[in-house]
């Protein structure tokens, strides 16, 4: 069995996860193993969708042709690999949707955001898939900013009632064309995230910080078809809450009232403690260097 740290959890796995941070511990928070995935779930607050089923403590996902997954009680992941798929693909979807399900089952809220550390505090860059979170993160890394997490950041409230964040794992995923644009010799194409996907993992084990760190600011990236220049606006408290709800990673997996209440409480605290900016950028032809320059003015 392999032991790792990821998303603030001790993970014991039957398969290797080069993406995660090797760790040593006595008791695992989550175990991952191959096995039989149930066909159906039952129970209260059951939600059935074409490729997934969800109840309060369990979740099934079918990535057609790749793998079926079962996440249970925030502690167990079982996967059934498709005949023609490979472990690389199995791991990719497990580290995405399935870890989100595990975190929700544990009552934790993952944000769809990349993050840097500045002056001992976190700055998050949130937004949907494809808005440029990882590209912006890599661009800031080029300028010497310290990378904290790519794509997902888990928010928590510490004992002093301060909102904090925990990183996911020490890898940034970048498309090949982004790698070429960034032109950073430290980035490479050694680790492809899926066999036919020109997307490459960039590891940062050496500088990875698995501490829980206070949150300072959140930038929400929003591509727009109707604008030609980057505009950054600080959001008022009402708009903040509405926008933050959409930035919760896989928010559709919040299926029960208890978790919804927890999310409400956490996001309310974020809204009251943290400055949140909306970054409107041209949807096409936008330049990451210009975006980075504009955002730097607010860091």
């Amino acid at each position: 069995m392999h032991k790792y740290w990821g998303f603030g959890l001790h993970i014991l796995s039957e398969i290797e996860f080069p993406e995660l941070l090797p760790a040593d511990f006595e008791e695992a928070d989550v175990t991952i193993s191959a096995g039989e995935v149930p066909q159906n779930l039952t129970g209260d607050e059951l939600i059935k969708k074409p490729f997934s089923q969800l109840n309060k403590d369990e979740y099934i996902l079918n990535v057609k042709g790749v793998c079926r997954y079962y996440a249970s009680h925030g502690k167990t992941v079982v996967f059934e690999q498709g005949e023609e798929s490979e472990l690389l693909s199995v791991r990719l979807f497990l580290l995405g949707t399935i870890m989100a399900a595990i975190l929700f089952q544990r009552g934790e809220i993952p944000m769809h955001a990349s993050a840097i550390i500045k002056d001992g505090q976190l700055i998050l860059f949130a937004g949907n898939s494809g808005v440029g979170k990882s590209t912006l993160l890599a661009s800031l890394s080029n300028l010497g900013y310290k990378v904290f997490s790519d794509d997902v950041c888990v928010l928590k409230i510490d004992k002093d009632n301060k909102v904090t964040g925990t990183a996911s794992y020490p890898m940034i995923k970048l498309w090949e064309d982004t790698l070429e644009k960034l032109n950073n010799t430290e980035f490479n194409k050694d680790y492809k995230v899926r066999p036919q996907l020109p997307k490459f993992g960039q590891f940062f084990y050496q500088t990875f910080n698995k501490e829980t760190i206070p949150l300072d600011k959140i930038f929400i990236l929003s591509p727009q078809n109707t604008i030609s220049e980057v505009t950054i606006n600080e959001l008022g408290s009402l708009a903040v809450f509405k926008q933050l709800e959409k930035q919760v990673y896989k928010f559709q997996l919040i299926g029960n009232t208890q978790l919804r209440a927890r999310q409400f409480g956490l996001l309310s605290m974020v809204a009251s403690q943290v400055k949140v900016y909306e970054v409107l950028r041209p949807a096409r032809g936008s330049n990451v260097q210009i975006l980075t320059q504009e955002i730097e003015k607010y860091l």
Binding site: K49, P50, F51, S52, L61, V63, K64, G65, V66, L92, F93, G96, T97, N128, S129, G130, W175, V193, R194, Q196, L197, P198, K199, P223, Q224, N225, T226, I227, S228, K250, Q252, L253, P282, A283, R284
Partner: protein, 284 residues
């Protein structure tokens, strides 16, 4: 609310691009909203190739899927979307009516209320498409004749644009795949009829969709969604659906401009490639 009459169903608005689809969506919006239409808030339900709908319904980050994997899931996604909705969904598509790699249609037949297919003279489509995509007329003549033409083009089975790859094929294939005896009603609307005889054309469509509106309501919606009104709104507020900010989506909206825009060689190529279907719809 007319959409409530048809829960768990989808009305497809299908067409080759620049053939009146958006105009019709604006008309429906006006019809369903007492004659008021805002082009950036059309009261229809997006496009089948939209990534956000897929990601929400599948729980998967679809950019990590290959295009053919995603296409295998689309039918079930939209079938479930219809099932879970208590009102009619009106969804646009520029895809030809094709099958996935397992031989199944990407459109869920059992969840379909009906489809409208919008058709426009391909000679006029070329100029409009060239302006929309900021390509030359020659490039668009090539696209409209290309059997493998796609929108939101992503090579090598990739799937990373804002939308999934749209397999629109060449103009004739787009038309014929939608109009050859599908398992649900497909009503063809000629763009030219929308222009020259709007009341009769839109009234017929309203009746085919089994929507109940009075002639006065239809007239009011036609007026509110007239080409001039849509163009005025685009000039004033911009249009979120256009590909490029510096290009007018609602351009001229006329018919028969092709003889000023296309060379005789280009006209000949389109007529040679698409003559049979053009003839069928009175364009030759």
């Amino acid at each position: 609310m007319v959409k409530k009459l048809y829960p768990h169903k989808i009305l497809w608005l299908a067409s080759y691009p620049k053939s009146g689809n958006t105009w019709f969506r604006a008309f429906l919006s006006a019809l369903m909203n007492d004659g008021v239409v805002a082009i950036n808030k059309l009261d229809t339900d997006g496009i089948i190739s939209a990534r956000e709908t897929f990601d929400f319904m599948s729980d998967i980050d679809s950019m990590d899927l290959y295009d053919d994997e995603a296409k295998l899931m689309v039918r079930d996604i939209y079938s479930n979307l219809a099932d879970s909705s208590d009102s009619l969904r009106i969804i646009k598509t520029h895809d030809a009516y094709l099958t996935d790699k397992e031989g199944n249609s990407i459109f869920p037949v059992e969840a379909t209320h009906c489809a409208f297919y919008f058709i426009r003279n391909p000679l006029d489509v070329v100029g409009s498409l060239a302006s929309h995509m900021r390509l030359s007329i020659e490039e668009c003549v090539h696209i409209i004749c290309d059997k493998n033409a796609t929108l939101a083009t992503q090579n090598n089975n990739l799937n990373k644009n804002k939308q999934f790859r749209i397999n629109m094929c060449d103009w004739s294939t787009n038309v014929t795949t939608w109009t050859h005896a599908l398992a649900f009603p497909v009503y063809v609307i000629r763009y030219e009829d929308m222009l020259s005889n709007p009341f009769e054309t839109f009234s017929r469509a309203v009746s085919q969709a089994k929507f109940n509106f009075t002639p006065e309501e239809i007239s009011r919606a036609i007026k509110a969604s007239s080409f001039e009104q849509l163009k005025r709104q685009e000039t004033q507020f911009g249009f979120v659906e256009k590909l490029r900010k510096d290009v007018q989506f609602f351009r001229s909206g006329t018919m028969g401009n092709w003889d000023k825009e296309l060379t005789p060689v280009q006209i000949d190529k389109i007529r040679q490639t698409h003559g049979e279907v053009m003839n069928q719809y009175g364009y030759f």
